[in-house]
């Protein structure tokens, strides 16, 4: 979009001027403003609209045609087209009489039947749902139905209203949400119920109501009440309103009577902007009327189209045949037998640059560029110098003007002017301006591509921006224009999560429905496409769609590619791939997921099968065990046994034998534990439990508490002067020599029977050495007794024991004899306050070191 082309400059100048001249040629003045009628597509479809029910949808959406039914039960067809007249789908109709067709905001087709039912299809003619609107309507029948959409600021809202044969009005909204979410509101009754309404239209403001006229009277029917409005109009003779139109934002209303007298004003009917009399010569049967923006509306009467501005201004266009009108946010769409057109007010953005004689900076910049191209660079320079201070505005105006245009050549020409101006701004250019330029270029490229007649979406930039790129991409997806959507996402740099991923996801979801290809082919195609796009789309979701379409092999194939275990595992469970589900859950390492699978499997499988499943999966088994440990110990024991984990079950029973309250249960548990250890072939443990049982009996007999240990029992015996008992315990329980001696010594020291201790020490050579005697005496603070045993202890241990009983000179001596210098140092530190010892140690060390 930048830089001059390489053609000769003279040609260029002519072309630029020509191109732009063509852009303003069809401007038609309407008071202060201009209107422009532009034909988007020539239609060559051989349709006479007069014979059809026609439904167009806003934002350049699809249109539906159905032959007008003369009889109730005639076979018929509904055909859905793009605005370029390309057939999208056909619905064979065998139902009742259709009163009206219309579109929801999500571009679903609604058929409202005389019998009070509504049927919803998507644009491909797929049946979505049907329902009775309301029981009462079934009996009263639908007489008329009008669709409405409301667009204001950031709110978009739509639905339809029906009038029954007994002149009751209903508002129906939230159709896209599904059969049971549809909301229906009955409005207050019309006070003049007996007389026939002249015309009516839904009105959306804070709530949706209906404007109804009866002869010259105007009523507003809301949910609660009916209000009669006095219209203060200039025409004194009785008026019989025959058509009413409400603007998309619900703020303006226009009325017209049979003689062509018009009144337009606010929807509270308090102030009027326009009163005008067309002074028609004869009464007309039908008038079509739609608001453009707030300052003009379009009427079609017979073969003439009037565009009515505010005040007295109007202009007219000839119409060659029947037509249909639809209000858009920025104009009115006109469908005729031969063309799809758009009539709109020329926006200020265009006027600023393109109106002849305008002195706005944008226009001057545009002129400058024309001169520059025509090799009149000195003139160009002059122009540019003239608008030097307003160059930014000029550039911005040119960009904005380009956005208004349908013809790519004109867009390009204006963008070139903008680019030309940009060059003069150099590095001082505001980033916003650069963004606006780039953004507009991108948007126009996108719009141009969807405006091509093969796509048939003649959306304007203003409509597109109103929709937002996200919603726009959604629409393309909905139309099955995946390829285009994908390109646009990339081109507009829409973040993948809102763009590419969404498109591919929908594409894949659609693809699995495609029965013309084999499972393998579909899987192959999906995998390739997703891989090429280098984005991650949830295979789990696609697999689920395949499963819903009863293509299990395909589902399984796709599911293998899912990288998120939490998306994969639940589906595997549903597909009864239990073992794979558990495997994948374990692989993921996510305990929550493993638990989830285990819960499902537990419900699904027999206990036996369930345990088998756990058998090969230690991780899952461990998790399950942990749960059981807290919740169901009996079950856990069963599992341990099943898995031949006898040591585990043995330990558990054994633990229970300590904690159980009931004595019988304790005994039983002990017995059980022993059996488990036997099964584990753990001879040591089996015997230990036997001994434990025996010991418990013994200690209780002795009057000790149940939990006393063998050592404690022996010590108790010694303390209570029952040496024979102690000896017996030792024999019965094969107590080790070591522990027995320690117990004896401790027992004797505890009761201070040092004479007995002395005798005991002399019985035979103590297996634990005499150190033990000294040691225990020391812990009983009896250094005198301890001193008796130290000389009998091993040489190397003596100094240390002497130290502990604070006999430093002997300690020093002992250390000296074993040539323990470190020991001597230790003595010196401990005896620091006794100079003689320190001295002694020093001499000893000298002796030792001297050698």
């Amino acid at each position: 979009d930048s830089g001059p082309d390489k053609d000769t400059t003279v040609d260029m100048a002519e072309r630029a001027a020509d191109i732009q001249a063509s852009a303003t040629a069809d401007w038609n003045p309407l008071g202060e403003i201009y209107v422009k009628r532009y034909s988007n597509y020539e239609l060559d479809w051989g349709i006479n609209l007069a014979d059809y029910l026609v439904a167009m949808s806003p934002f350049a959406g699809p249109l539906a045609l159905m032959p007008k039914q003369r009889q109730t039960s005639m076979k018929s067809e509904i055909t859905i087209y793009t605005l370029a007249g390309k057939k999208i789908s056909t619905i064979t109709w065998e139902g009742g009489r259709v009163i009206e067709l219309g579109w929801t905001l999500s571009e679903n087709l609604v058929c409202v039947l005389e019998d009070g039912s509504m049927i919803i299809y998507d644009i491909f003619g797929q049946f979505l749902y049907s329902r009775i609107i309301q029981r009462e309507i079934q009996t009263s029948r639908v007489q008329e139905c009008k669709f409405f959409s409301y667009t204001d600021k950031d709110k978009v809202f739509g639905g339809f209203a029906v009038m029954t044969c007994n002149t009751e009005f209903y508002i129906i909204v939230d159709i896209d949400k599904g059969k049971d979410e549809v909301r229906i509101k009955k409005l207050a009754a019309l006070p003049d119920a007996s007389s026939k309404p002249g015309c009516w239209a839904p009105l959306c403001k804070e709530s949706t109501s209906v404007i109804v006229t009866v002869e010259d009277r105007v009523y507003l029917l809301s949910h609660l009440d009916a209000t009669l409005y006095e219209i203060n109009c200039g025409k004194k003779s009785a008026t019989c309103w025959m058509e009413v139109a409400v603007s998309l934002n619900g703020k303006a209303v226009a009325l017209i009577d049979r003689e062509g007298y018009m009144w337009a004003g606010t929807t509270d009917f308090k102030s009027s902007d326009t009163e005008f009399d067309l002074q028609l010569k004869q009464k007309v049967a039908r008038v079509q009327m739609q608001w453009g923006e707030m300052d003009y509306f379009v009427l079609v009467i017979d073969r003439i189209m009037f565009v009515k501005g505010l005040g007295k201004h109007w202009c007219k266009y000839p119409m060659n045949g029947p037509c249909c009108l639809l209000a858009e946010v920025d104009g009115v769409r006109i469908l005729t037998n031969t063309a799809c057109e758009f009539i709109h007010r020329v926006s200020t953005k265009s006027l600023n640059v393109l109106r002849i004689g305008v002195m706005e900076p944008g226009a001057l910049l545009n002129d400058a560029y024309k001169e520059y191209e025509g090799d009149e660079s000195h003139k160009a320079d002059e122009f540019v110098r003239f608008i030097k201070d307003k160059l930014s505005i000029a550039v911005s105006q040119c960009i904005e003007a380009a956005g208004e245009e349908f013809v790519p050549k004109v867009q390009k020409s204006l963008l070139k002017s903008a680019n030309f101006g940009k060059g003069f701004l150099g590095s001082e250019i505001q980033p916003d301006l650069v963004n606006a330029f780039v953004e507009t270029c991108r948007e126009l490229r996108v719009l141009n591509s969807v405006r091509l007649s093969k796509i048939g979406i003649p959306i304007t930039l203003r409509q597109y921006r109103r929709l937002s790129s996200g919603v726009f991409v959604d629409r393309l997806i909905y139309h099955g224009l995946y390829h285009l959507a994908l390109e646009i996402c990339e081109f507009l740099k829409i973040p993948p999560s809102e763009g590419t991923v969404k498109v591919l996801r929908n594409w894949a979801l659609k693809k699995v429905q495609d029965k013309s290809m084999s499972d393998a082919e579909v899987a192959q195609k999906i995998k390739k496409k997703l891989k090429d796009a280098n984005v991650v789309v949830s295979y789990g979701e696609i697999a689920r769609a395949a499963m819903d379409a009863k293509r299990l092999t395909l589902a399984a194939d796709l599911l293998r590619n899912e990288i998120f275990a939490q998306d994969q595992v639940p589906l595997l469970l549903e597909m009864d791939s239990d073992s794979t589900a558990l495997e994948k859950a374990v692989e993921s390492g996510d305990p929550k997921l493993i638990h989830q699978v285990l819960r499902q499997l537990k419900l699904k499988l027999t206990t036996e099968r369930y345990y088998q499943m756990l058998h090969f999966r230690p991780v899952a088994a461990a998790l399950y065990c942990k749960v059981l440990k807290e919740t169901d110990q009996e079950q856990l024991l069963r599992l341990y046994r099943q898995e031949s984990l006898f040591v585990e079950s043995g330990c558990m029973y054994f633990a229970q034998s300590f904690t159980a309250r009931d004595t019988d249960i304790r005994k039983q548990r002990l017995f059980d534990a022993q059996k488990e250890f036997r099964d584990a072939q753990d001879i040591f443990a089996t015997k230990a439990i036997e001994e434990h049982a025996k010991l418990t009996t013994e200690v209780v007999k002795l009057g000790l508490k149940e939990t006393a240990t063998l050592s404690e029992a022996v010590i108790w015996c010694v303390k209570n002067r029952q040496p024979r008992q102690a000896e017996q315990l030792r024999k019965d329980f094969k107590m080790t020599d070591h522990q027995y001696w320690w117990a004896m010594i401790r027992g004797l020291c505890d009761i201070g029977d040092y004479a007995e201790l002395d005798r005991f020490s002399k019985q035979k050579k103590p297996p634990i050495g005499f150190e033990a005697f000294a040691e225990v005496c020391i812990t009983h603070d009896n250094y005198r007794e301890a001193a008796k045993y130290i000389p009998k202890a091993a040489f190397e241990n003596r100094y240390h024991l002497y130290l502990r009983i604070q006999d430093y000179s002997k300690a020093a001596d002992a250390a000296f004899q074993t040539r323990n210098i470190g020991g001597l140092d230790e003595v010196a530190i401990k005896a620091a306050r006794t100079p003689e010892i320190v001295d002694l140690v020093r001499q000893m060390k000298a002796k030792l070191e001297g050698r």
Binding site: I563, A622, E630, A688, H692, T709, S711, H738, Q739
Partner: protein
């Protein structure tokens, strides 16, 4: 943010983690205009307290906090709109909560009351099921009763400027006793989540079964993260701040945690226990200014809680010293302070005086610190001088240094004979087993018999569980430890605890195997790390992020001591303070090119580790600390005794 000043000192700004956790808490608590009551699962008060102090909670609309179990909740605090229960996912806790809510709702309510259960860090399905048994489903809305279940994903607690913990106090037994994969997943998630703050890890290296599992999940998560284009993009834009993650399974080195730690912080943990960066000491042993009471005031009851973080300058220095160096350091610092005070006397001009006054607050704080740590050091010394303590150290040393040492048998039997705590005996037994690659069958049986006879037959369960956890086993094949001892120079020829040249100073002559492995990786590369042992359980993952320019740039330059690389060493199954100190020693070496950050499932020591395995043993009451308070009267340290260390 003053409360978290100690987190920002390191190369990696861990306050970011704290900030993220605070934001998440804010989101959990919601609208700050709602008056809220928080009901705590007691075990969460401290960890959440590290993230959010009381004034912060007040700002978020919390006006009252109570702990479980609680009764008459709505009656006691009728003005609150919302009652939040913060709890770990435990069925017993759920039952208490249900009871409390049902009791509240049984009464007629005037206004709608909202009850929210916040599981920290995760809910488990069967806790949710438990609520559903009582018809309490998430999102339930009745006219006078609303109920919701949510999670507060507080996974990583920054304990200090270079230490993060997952605070999974049962991680060791969960992993090695129950083989519960939950811990693995939680660790992987937490480590993975850090990437959102510190960027993608270019490299992940690990050793050990569970380390490998974590590695697998991390690469899986990497694929998943990259699948989210938005997230992938933001990750790519982050400059990686961590160059490598080293995952170590605790079973790679079970010996180290069984050894008694000899660093200052390690000893405090061994003797008094450190929880969430604080420890309790007998109050009366501290001087009055440390106790923060005025002279003559009645003594405050209960032990004194001393915060132990790098925020305190003196402790930041002392914590990693071998205990032998602590006394020297304290007295030299005390001397310096004294000199400064002396200078004041010499100060003649006004500006001299002014200078001094400016320094005064800092000096006073240092003085207080010195006094506090002198007392703690005295307390520790009382224990480390004890014969039983020294005997134990000697036994440990024999086990580490000699093959199949039977010398220890006598010592162990003596301890049993004297009726010392069973966990001490078991710790020694385990150490003997681990060092020698198992115990010979005869020895094993003898030990077992003696344990059962001296401590009761219920310890059959203890022994089974220790075997299951791999801490105790029968010898088979060639033991690996003696081999590694030589290969990795675990026992140095010389040891200088005062001016250490090697990490072995932390155990006065034993270089912790785990840290030596990390050192090997740094100095000799991955291949050497792989070949040490457990080759098949060693792995390396590179997370390709080449499209990121920041990454590419980083790749080019080699780490230097000016611009060191940052390595996160993560211990699965717990690590000790001594190991943290050893890693810090490596970071602080003069020519260090690596700065280590330590991550762990939780902080452990030998006794805590053994005790946790014994938790299923009936009648067992842990007495695991040498000096748990009130164990024995601690001699009062008088002022005149100070400085004699």
């Amino acid at each position: 943010m003053a409360a978290a000043g100690h987190l920002s000192g390191g190369r990696l700004n861990l306050t970011l983690l704290r900030e993220a956790a605070r934001d998440e808490l804010k989101a959990v608590l919601g609208d700050e205009r709602q008056k809220k009551v928080i009901v705590w699962d007691e075990s969460l008060i401290k960890p959440v307290g590290l993230i959010a102090e009381v004034p912060f909670l007040k700002q978020l609309g919390v006006y009252k906090m109570v702990r479980l179990p609680v009764s008459n909740l709505t009656e006691a605090y009728p003005e609150a709109n919302e009652y939040l229960f913060f709890t770990k996912a435990k069925v017993s806790m759920v039952e208490q909560i249900v009871q409390s809510i049902r009791e509240s709702t049984a009464r007629k309510q005037q206004t709608a009351k909202k009850f929210t259960v916040v599981f920290v860090p995760y809910a488990t399905q069967h806790c949710i099921d438990k609520f559903e048994e009582y018809k309490m489903t998430n999102g339930l809305k009745l006219p006078t009763f609303e109920f919701a279940i949510t999670e507060y994903r507080l996974e990583t607690l920054p304990l200090d400027s270079d230490v993060i913990s997952l605070d999974l106090s049962t991680a060791f037994t969960d992993l090695y006793l129950q083989s519960d994969p939950t811990v693995v997943h939680q660790a992987a998630r937490a480590i993975g989540k850090l990437q959102a703050v510190f960027g993608l890890y270019p490299k992940i290296v690990g050793k050990g079964k569970y380390a490998k599992d974590v590695g697998t999940i991390l690469s899986r998560m990497h694929t998943e993260m990259m699948a989210n284009p938005g997230f992938a993009q933001s990750l790519k834009e982050l400059t990686p701040q961590i160059d490598m993650v080293v995952l170590l399974d605790r079973t790679v080195d079970l010996l180290t945690p069984l050894c008694t730690q000899l660093t200052y912080e390690g000893l405090i943990d061994e003797l008094y226990g450190i929880t969430y960066g604080a420890s309790k000491f007998p109050r009366e042993t501290f001087s009055e200014d440390v106790q923060n009471v005025r002279k003559g005031d009645p003594p405050t009851p209960g032990p004194l809680t001393v915060p132990l973080t790098s925020e305190e300058e003196v402790f930041g220095k002392l914590r990693d010293f071998n205990f032998r160096k602590v006394g020297k350091y304290l007295s030299s610092e005390a001397k310096k302070i004294k000199e400064i005070y002396d200078e004041r006397k010499k100060a003649e001009t006004v500006s001299d005086l002014k200078q001094f006054v400016q320094k005064l607050p800092h000096i006073q704080a240092t003085k207080l610190s010195l006094s506090r740590h002198t007392t703690i050091a005295e307390l520790i010394k009382n224990t480390t001088d004890r014969d039983d303590f020294l005997g134990m150290l000697h036994a440990e040393q024999c086990l580490r240094e000699e093959d199949n040492s039977d010398k220890v048998l006598d010592y162990t039997e003596k301890c049993m004979g004297m009726g010392e705590p069973v966990s001490k005996i078991l710790r020694l037994m385990c150490m003997q087993s681990v060092a020698n690659g198992g115990l010979k069958p005869r020895l094993m049986e003898q030990y077992k018999r003696e344990i059962l006879q001296s401590y009761g037959y219920q310890h059959l369960i203890s022994l089974c569980n220790l075997e299951k956890a791999g801490l105790l086993r029968l010898q088979e094949g060639k033991p690996t430890f003696p081999l590694l001892r030589r290969q990795l120079r675990l026992i140095p020829e010389q040891i200088d605890e005062l001016n250490p040249k090697d990490i072995s100073y932390v155990f006065s002559g034993y270089a912790p195997l785990s840290v030596r492995l990390v050192e090997t990786l740094e100095q000799s590369g991955y291949q050497a790390f792989e070949e040490c042992f457990a080759r098949d359980l060693t792995f390396q993952i590179t997370q390709d992020n080449s499209s990121s320019p920041a990454q590419a740039q980083r790749k080019k330059r080699l780490p230097t001591s000016d611009r060191p690389q940052v390595v996160l060493v993560f211990f699965l199954g717990g690590c000790t303070y001594a190991e943290i100190s050893a890693l810090r020693f490596l970071s602080e070496k003069e020519d260090a090119v690596t700065e280590y950050i330590v991550g762990t499932t939780h902080i452990i020591n030998g006794q805590a580790m053994v005790d946790s395995v014994l938790s299923e043993t009936p009648l067992f009451v842990p007495t695991h600390l040498w000096n748990s308070l009130g164990d024995e009267p601690v001699p009062k340290v008088t002022a005149s005794d100070r400085g004699s260390l």
